[in-house]
Subunit: 118 residues, 2 copies
């Protein structure tokens, strides 16, 4: 095992407004067209997933998911165009963060990493 950099990053607007978890959840909703299935895949209760989405929507100021038909037990979920735009930006942002963090770590700590490995 070697020394490494670890980090968590998220968008904040009066609390966590978007991050890796929501990004994964919405990506899975896009594929499955179902928040229930997306939540299941991530081992998250459906009710918790809905509450999360509602909280994020409040903090972001726009709607992320629209139910296609039926009530809470029926129909599917559609990722809104604004949510898709956010996901596109977030995906690129996240990639740049990863690259930058690894570069900065190497720049400052390559010698430390070597010392620890010895």
């Amino acid at each position: 095992m070697t020394m490494k950099i670890s980090y968590k990053v998220w968008l904040d607007h009066d609390g966590k407004a978007f991050g890796d978890g929501p990004y994964e959840l919405l990506t899975r909703v896009e594929k499955t067209k179902s928040l229930r299935q997306a939540a299941n895949q991530m081992g998250m209760a459906y009710s918790k997933a809905w509450r999360l989405i509602r909280t994020l929507e409040e903090r972001l100021g726009f709607v992320l998911l629209e139910r296609k038909t039926g009530g809470q037990s029926g129909g599917g979920s559609r990722v809104t165009p604004k949510a898709k735009e956010l996901m596109k930006h977030y995906g690129r942002f996240r990639k740049d963060v990863k690259d930058a963090m690894e570069g900065i770590y190497r720049r400052h700590f390559s010698s430390l990493a070597q010392k620890v490995r010895k």
Copy 2:
């Protein structure tokens, strides 16, 4: 309030090995020559500060603090040369992380930040 980026970053080697908290603690030890005073200033119990230092030392593989004289209740603490080297690197690393994160956020989310402000 506007949308902003938030993050936590730390060095990891089989667990958290160094981060903002330890950096602040050691900086205060450097100034006060006392882990007890440094811990007090941060509202941290002395025993907790010692356990933290010991855990970090284990994960880093080198000693951070040396007691100058006396036992646990007496004397002062000295930051080791290796710890000072780590702090120097970490301080620069942390500054670069801050600058990079803010730049990346602006690059990807300046439009989102404006939307939320409306």
